[in-house]
Point group: C2
Chain length 454, copies 2
């Protein structure tokens, strides 16, 4: 028998998160106060986030210990399996060895619970009663809902309206976990009311939903805000993925030549890639790391590296990131998790330093790749993950041409069970490729704040 | 850390299927020709089934070797994890130890691929070009679709109309695997046309869909029929579940006092229970085995043990089973996989011999149990599996009362990602408990064939 899966026992769950900030050859630019243009301190973030998470956000320690209570909760689904995609390799007739890390094995079906349970834990320890957050396609909202249920916290989720209407099943999952789910923009908040006044039919965006969730947390001392993407501590929590993958590849007697992940906010990509990038920075090596994003929302490949707000209503501090402009509302393509105007500062910084590269694919070629993957491997991926797959297939095809037996490690960040309408539309020929929305992006970029961007 | 998951490597996939027929204290009653009332032989089944599968259907060998090609394919998802449901135990405040075998880890989300890939394999070996089959909720159809894709066979699925209309996402999954899905009753077949003539609005049933799929196979020599339930060889293929669970419990230092599974056609129940029942028959012991079925379709608890047809149009041979009558169309409750008029002959025989017991729960208490499970463990179960969970919670509560720390092993046969409408309806208070449909069943039973039932 040829081995397909590489499995690790519960007690192999990593005991520390890996922090790439410790190994960056130059430090991450500071986060700025949008009113003064001065670097902010932990105190400025305290109304929104639990203290321990703020500590992790600014830490430059290389390893941050994972409390045993969190490892115990992670064991509900971790370590996730590493698969060798032998059937896909055969279908592609490639000498490349393709390994995928299967984050869809979590109860919510994606990598998102890896950080949701951590954030719920630290908030619970601090006596917080309620978590407010936002969700796009619903993967984060359901993960946060489950995490809050595990730690007996209330959970309030602002869900981007277009997803709220199109994805009742994700909503049902959140509600099964006991979360409250509100369509965003809503009448609950000043930010929501203002947007609805200007545009009652507004389909919503992640940036808007973040504004609502942040506002609620800022105004209620028993409520704190949680974010499932972009922030340093979120990326930190995801590094269990890459650490596990390294051990699993060791079982297989392999080490990656190329690591591939899809990027929306950057967290699943960072989760698999950062431990390997850190190792390369410390020990050297030939690793290539490729971020794959949608052509219709190309923050890494087309967005400049600038200071920008994380949300639409400009309630957040300014962070330096590749951005399409905080007022940019991406077209309605079928990868809700990748529809965000900015990229994680740490991923943006890694790109700038040449520690990774970025590429973009449109949705039709992504879905074609996802269907090819499903036919070969059985698993039907989330539309977001299809971007990682099309990137992988592209690299495997290059190996076929060159005859090189490279080892490719890809993060399969989630399953598509709650996204089947997208597959129906794809098969019915209803999907189209969106043009790069040049004008909208130019307009949104024209509105960038001046601080930090002089 | 308290261990949550017990994992086995790929090469621990069982090397043989276990056949309870070898250990039954009295033999299974023969299958009868409905025209003559005489036992049928393998030749009678040859137009419908691959020869190797017919051989397994009638075999009384204890162990039947699993070809390496099949073990290699099973490795795409097996061995499935065994979980200790520690969080559920705590929520129930029970001294019982609850272990669940997680069959939802397969790419199609249930135990069904365990036999689908085997049936596809043997048909492919025999030169068959196309498989016809039926599906209720869609779990079997998607599994057969994937299996046919793996072995390069065409796949034609007759899907019960009410599910076809209500579950477009299951259909989309089948189509992603390249299967063709037809709403049943259809105009494709004589059986379908006859039923539509009498009742153009017929919502369909598994019995009807089976008639259509069987008819297509009988009339086309390149097509054979596959069934995902009830038959001896189907139950045989599922015994990998129980064999793995036995090894995994050994890792945990435990052995079950009680085994629980939900029963529709009986295959997931048999899969987990039969290897343990066989061991008890050979070596003795105190094991209790509990089959849990829906009150609205109570073949085991209310249906007599009689010879009956497997389908509505009476194209199949007669098998001896607990049956509600082959013309009984169950009410439209939300567990499509449990809406079948009969029970597997081997499960029926085991019940008659006292090797297992049977109990029934209605859908409201099943959903309540499923939601409680999701809140504790994260995983949202299929409505079918909720029946196994309500039975488990009931036993765990008995342990709380008696103070006994019994070991309960339950088969969690699938996830509910494609059944979220049922959870929406449940939370909205739209589900109701169906009365035991006494009159309909009496009428259906009045039509039982006379052969074998004298």
């Amino acid at each position: 028998m040829e081995p397909i899966k590489y499995l690790l026992p519960d007690d192999a769950i990593p005991t520390a998160w890996y922090n790439l900030q410790a190994d960056f050859p130059e430090p991450l630019p500071p986060v700025l106060n949008p009113g003064t243009g001065q670097p902010i301190g932990p105190d400025d973030l305290a109304p929104l986030f639990a203290d321990a998470l703020i500590g992790q956000e600014v830490s430059t320690e290389r390893w941050i210990e994972i409390p045993d209570e969190i490892r115990q909760i992670l064991a509900q689904w971790r370590c996730t399996p590493l698969f060798r995609a032998r059937r896909l390799e055969k279908a592609l007739d490639t000498p490349a060895k393709i390994y995928f890390k299967w984050e869809g094995a979590s109860p919510c079906g994606s990598h998102k619970p890896n950080t949701a349970v951590v954030q719920a834990y630290y908030n619970k320890m601090q006596g917080v009663k309620r978590i407010s957050t936002e969700t796009g396609a619903g993967q984060w909202g359901s993960s946060m809902g489950m995490a809050c249920q595990f730690f007996d916290l209330e959970c309030l989720v602002y869900m981007v309206r277009v997803s709220y209407d199109q994805k009742p099943y994700r909503r049902a999952l959140m509600e099964a976990y006991g979360a409250t789910c509100v369509s965003s923009p809503s009448q609950d908040t000043e930010a929501g009311r203002k947007i609805l006044q200007d545009d009652p039919d507004c389909r919503g965006s992640l940036g808007i939903a973040i504004s609502e969730a942040v506002e609620v947390a800022a105004k209620d001392e028993d409520t704190k805000y949680c974010l499932g993407r972009v922030l340093n501590h979120v990326l930190l929590h995801q590094t269990v993925i890459g650490q596990e993958a390294e051990k699993q590849l060791e079982m297989a007697g392999d080490y990656p030549d190329i690591i591939i992940g899809c990027t929306g906010g950057g967290s699943n990509f960072a989760g698999i890639a950062f431990p390997f990038i850190g190792k390369k920075l410390r020990d050297g090596g030939d690793l290539r790391v490729v971020a794959v994003e949608p052509s219709a929302c190309p923050s890494l490949t087309k967005g400049p590296l600038r200071y920008d707000f994380g949300d639409t209503a400009h309630l957040t501090p300014l962070v330096k990131m590749n951005t399409l402009g905080s007022t940019f509302v991406p077209p309605g393509f079928h990868s809700g998790g990748l529809r965000y105007h900015g990229m994680a500062p740490m991923v943006s910084h890694a790109l700038k330093l040449g520690l990774c590269e970025a590429t973009a694919y449109n949705q039709l070629e992504s879905f074609a790749a996802g269907v090819q993957f499903a036919k070969a491997e059985g698993i039907i991926p989330a539309p977001e993950a299809n971007h990682a797959i099309v990137g992988t297939i592209h690299e495997a095809q290059k190996c076929r041409e060159s005859g090189e037996a490279k080892t490719i490690l890809v993060n399969l960040s989630g399953h598509g069970h709650f996204d089947m309408q997208a597959y129906i539309d794809y098969h019915a020929g209803l999907l189209r490729d969106y043009e790069y929305p040049e004008e909208d992006i130019a307009m949104a970029l024209a509105g960038l704040p001046s601080f930090g961007n002089e």
